[in-house]
């Protein structure tokens, strides 16, 4: 049993290397500390080693060399089943895990290994279905759900196990704006509960606005680690990772060029909108006064 304490970083990765059996070097000397309750983004081009890195966190991949500590305890000898209680890994493709006859059974399968009694199990299922707005689909086959709903069910089937660390692989991929919005609500509520959240994403706008810290990966190495806005505002780093500057950053740079110097510190879409509305209002008022 891993007991979570606040004295150390929750996750410590030391000199981690991983080489695939065919000789491909996937991870090279990864050193990383993640604090409890932190939200971390992992970005980088395809083949940079992002997915390999998160797979080492719950033992799906065992490092070639190096160590991973969760709450100061080396996890190298821990079983996947044991680690899955602490690290909930949510995969890109929900159809890789949905198989049960109904949405309710799908959640039940995830809870099976937690050894709850019948009553506790039903309470937990009801709670999770209600929280994820999946109540109305309770008896429906998971295979008949829409893309967004099946993704929601896949996430629910991991979150119901209440892992301390949540790891998402491309959660916004193929999601419409409303679905992304509801995902953001979900991660915020999990963060409020003190969960540590790690998100692999190519969605630069999403990362720029909602993820406080980001690591950029390239060629199996960490090439940058810091506050998301600092990392993603860096032209050199974004180009090296096949990323483009976030739209809000591009807009603020364009506005700076035409004289809006004080816009530099504005980051989010809402802030820029507010800034421009304020500016236009002031301009209209001064024009009327003239």
């Amino acid at each position: 049993m891993i007991t979570i304490s606040k004295e150390f970083p929750l996750i410590v990765i030391k000199a981690l290397d991983y080489i695939y059996p065919n000789g491909t070097v996937a991870l090279k000397n990864i050193n990383l500390n993640i604090q409890k309750g932190e939200m971390l983004g992992i970005m980088g081009k395809n083949g940079a080693g992002k997915t390999t890195l998160i797979r080492t966190l719950n033992g799906l991949i065992r490092p070639t060399s190096g160590d991973i500590y969760i709450n100061n305890e080396n996890i190298n000898s821990r079983s996947i089943a044991d680690l899955s209680t602490y690290v909930g890994l949510i995969f890109q493709n929900p159809s890789h895990q949905l198989f049960a006859n109904s949405v309710e059974d799908e959640i039940k399968f995830s809870l099976k290994n937690l050894y709850l009694n019948k009553e506790e199990l039903q309470i937990k299922i009801n709670e999770i279905l209600r929280n994820f707005n999946l109540d109305k689909y309770r008896d429906r086959s998971p295979l008949n759900l829409s893309g967004g709903e099946s993704k929601k069910l896949a996430i629910a089937s991991i979150i119901c196990r209440a892992p301390e660390i949540l790891v998402f692989d491309e959660p916004t991929l193929g999601q419409d704006a409303r679905e992304i919005e509801s995902f953001i609500k979900l991660i915020n509520s999990e963060k409020e509960k003190g969960k540590t959240i790690i998100i692999i994403t190519h969605n630069i706008e999403f990362a720029y606005e909602f993820i406080p810290r980001t690591i950029l990966m390239g060629g199996g190495e960490i090439i940058a680690d810091g506050p998301t806005q600092n990392v993603l505002n860096n032209n050199f780093l974004t180009e090296r990772s096949s990323l483009i500057l976030p739209q809000t950053r591009q807009l603020s740079l364009a506005l700076q060029e035409i004289g809006f110097q004080d816009i530099n510190k504005i980051v989010t879409k809402n802030d820029i909108t507010e800034y421009l509305i304020k500016f236009l209002r002031n301009k209209t008022t001064s024009a009327q006064e003239e």
Partner: protein
């Protein structure tokens, strides 16, 4: 659990005598060895057939991959030993292991050395309809993709507490459902997508079609095929005349 052993059936382009043979000759090889293996249930003849595959594996420069395919059989080998030793005899169990190894090796050699595109061409040259030949080579090409998908499914289920090893035969069968159902569904979905993609590129719009590449059965292919046919004839003869074979040929373990 890793499905890496499935790579032992994935074509790898190499320069070797076996790779340069016509796919039809290699199909004859796979069939010859499969039939030969099915002819016997004694250790010695099966061992001879099995050992005769090794030079081919070395010539084909596929020793490492072939060994992987044999290693991948370890679970099945254990299963065969337990069941056959319990209900038959240890000699019979060893013979059955050799039989399985020969068949798996023959097809492993075939899949490792035959380019899926060449396979379609060879089937067409054997007068199979193009649609059939294409579907066959497509199925062949998707083996590694399905292996990757199966591995992803295992990983996804393990991430929510699914345990691969369960005690008891019934439990082990039940335990396969979380893996098989998503795999079958993903495969069916992919099949529909591939069919739509093919149709959108006018697959089957004309009956007669030309081919950019052609394959030819050369002298070395004939020599190799004749060798295989002779090999099969010899073993069929031995099977028919089994009673006149020396004692060592029908040797059995005392238990």
């Amino acid at each position: 659990m890793s499905l890496e052993f499935l790579n032992a059936f994935k074509f790898m382009k190499k320069e070797s005598f076996l790779h340069n043979l016509d796919p039809r000759a290699k199909l004859v090889l796979a069939l010859t060895y499969t039939i030969s293996a099915l002819l016997f249930k004694q250790i010695i003849p099966l061992l001879i057939i099995f050992l005769s595959l090794i030079p081919l594996v070395i010539i084909g420069k596929i020793l490492k991959q072939w060994l992987k395919s044999i290693r991948g059989l370890s679970f099945l080998v254990l299963f065969i030993i337990i069941l056959n030793t319990l209900f038959m005899s240890l000699s019979f169990a060893i013979a059955m292991i050799l039989r399985i190894c020969i068949m798996v090796s023959a097809f492993s050699i075939f899949f490792l050395t035959v380019d899926p595109n060449d396979l379609a061409l060879s089937l067409i040259s054997m007068k199979f309809p193009y649609e059939f030949a294409f579907s066959f080579s497509l199925a062949f090409r998707f083996v590694p993709t399905i292996a990757i998908e199966a591995q992803n499914i295992i990983d996804a289920q393990q991430s929510r507490g699914y345990e691969m090893q369960k005690k008891g035969f019934i439990n082990q069968i039940k335990n396969l459902f979380p893996l098989l159902i998503p795999l079958i569904i993903c495969s069916i979905r992919r099949a529909f997508n591939v069919a739509e993609a093919l149709e959108s590129r006018a697959f089957g719009s004309k009956k007669d079609r030309s081919y950019y590449y052609t394959i030819k059965f050369t002298l070395k292919d004939w020599i190799f095929t004749i060798y295989l046919i002779l090999f099969l004839i010899v073993f069929i003869f031995i099977r028919i005349q089994f009673s006149i074979m020396p004692d060592w040929f029908v040797w059995r373990l005392p238990v």
